[in-house]
Subunit: 319 residues, 2 copies
């Protein structure tokens, strides 16, 4: 059942003993939403804890390091930024049909929860929680809540860079920055600082980029052999497909990564009008207009040839 802000606020006021669930492979928005909502509920005098199926990345420790779980018996399950119960993670599957309230910003939310508060126009789940807190006067904001919600909004918008960021996003950030949250330091940590392994991965991908069709298409490919030879760690490839569109002329970027002996995953990114989900659907894949993927069971060279040909057709070029 879709509910509105008032109904969500009434629900939170009437219930107690919350387990707040983030999605697995947690990012800044789900972590900020989880600990932000937890701080709000505790300030309301409720008992609340945050749970995630996966370990929380160390880079978000400034959000969770002051947190201590409370001792109580679960009565109410709330999920934040979780569009589909599958995203809770395998070890949290038992929660799937017990979610009493889901707060989210994904238009793709499956409606699995008993109550869903979803704002598809919001740039982040943290923006929805900010609106819930302030419009319904749940509590007065404070430094800790502001730090959590700001981090989620900043990380889910690429620091206010993406199309998803709108006037309401900036209004929320303005209100949250009135507290002493050290936003500049948070942003430096979220966006500018990298591990040595990540720098090496980016160097490798940028260095091996090939360009086609007057540099309108770029292709980077990383094989298992490359990873073995260079020692590039598999867990440092998150979001790396975005690097394929750094060159200013590129309209379609392709990142191919070998998963198994004859299995390759291609991730496509579009910077303009080309619908990459249409390209990927030719190979049994799919996704969004600007970001999509597909899988090839062949050689890396053949995968590259096939995908470049399809991109060329989309660009109106002869491959």
């Amino acid at each position: 059942m879709q509910i509105n802000f008032k109904e969500a606020a009434d629900f939170l006021r009437e219930n107690d003993c919350y387990h707040i669930l983030t999605h697995a492979s947690p990012d800044g928005d789900t972590i900020g939403s989880g600990f932000g909502l937890c701080a709000i509920l505790r300030k309301m005098g409720k008992k609340a804890n945050v749970y995630c199926a996966d370990e929380l990345p160390r880079r978000y420790d400034f959000i969770y390091e002051g947190y201590e779980p409370m001792d109580f018996e679960l009565k109410t399950v709330v999920a934040v930024d979780v569009a589909d119960p599958k995203l809770l993670g395998k070890s949290f599957a038992h929660y799937a049909d017990k979610v009493a309230l889901c707060i989210d910003h994904h238009i793709s939310n499956t409606g699995y929860a008993k109550r869903t508060l979803v704002e598809p126009d919001a740039a982040a789940a943290c923006q929805v929680i900010f609106k819930l807190m302030s419009s319904q006067k749940l509590v007065e904001c404070d430094e800790n809540i502001a730090k959590c919600l700001y981090t989620g909004i900043a990380t889910d918008t690429g620091c206010f860079k993406f199309d998803s960021c709108g006037p309401e996003t900036h209004f929320a950030a303005a209100e949250l920055m009135k507290f002493d949250i050290g936003a500049g330091k948070i942003n430096r940590r979220m966006f500018d600082q990298k591990s040595r392994a990540r720098i090496a991965v980016e160097q490798h991908v940028l260095g091996s980029m090939e360009y086609y069709f007057d540099e309108r298409c770029s292709v980077a490919a990383v094989s298992l052999d490359d990873m073995h030879k260079t020692g590039l760690p598999a867990d440092e490839f998150e979001g790396i497909a975005g690097l394929t569109t750094v060159l200013e002329t590129v309209e379609v970027g392709v990142f191919i990564r070998q998963k198994e002996e004859h299995k390759f995953k291609a991730s496509l990114r579009s910077t303009g009008d080309i619908d990459v989900s249409a390209i990927c659907s030719k190979f049994g894949g799919g996704g969004h207009v600007k970001a999509a993927g597909c899988t090839f069971e062949t050689s890396i060279e053949d995968a590259k040839t096939q995908i470049v040909k399809a991109v060329g057709e989309a660009l109106g070029e002869k491959a």
Copy 2:
């Protein structure tokens, strides 16, 4: 003479026939301020043109491509984002003592203009112009004005990332984004897209980085010989010193670039508490706590040795 927003608004209302001057080596903030203020003045029924001593970079063409200079005799000179008359550029030196109004956000503004409206807490000159326009009701904002002012604010804050960005910065952005300015597209162009030459420069600098003191200090050096061999273009090095602090452990980043046969310029960046202007002052240089520079007339190896030793002392390490 320092003036306030009301006095600046009165001045703009009472005068006409404006030359608006940006600083030389123009950036997004001075260009956005120049064309934004020009659009405001024209909307007020005034005659106004924008001038810059240097050619405007093509990456800002979405700001100035619809602009046509008007034909009129100069009566009033206004400078925007110009903290010191030297920054007008050599060919504009004749304007230096004729600036009737300067609108700026640099605390270091020399007060060279007859009237100065400076807000040192503002993240960008465009933020000051936004406040002037809206608080003094000079004109109703529109898409063109919003596009100019948003671009200046976004570029001068690293897309709302830096410490300089505060609640007022986000409030301004929120108001400006109510117009159909395509902020996501602007940001992609300003922050994500790079030329092939720039990518090559970044690859070279990251690839040649050396680390000292448990990776608390990084040093990258580019000689004239490197530039000659690799074909790296000199005009793609703007802001490259920022790359020296990408590794998460680095507290002081050093970028050394050869300028002439025995002349090297070192640019230092600090990510924490170390005052790099104090380090640079040992070598006759200076700057700010977090960004400073100095010059060496020696060999590149000796320059590196001297600066690493000084950084080591600042870090409390033995070089």
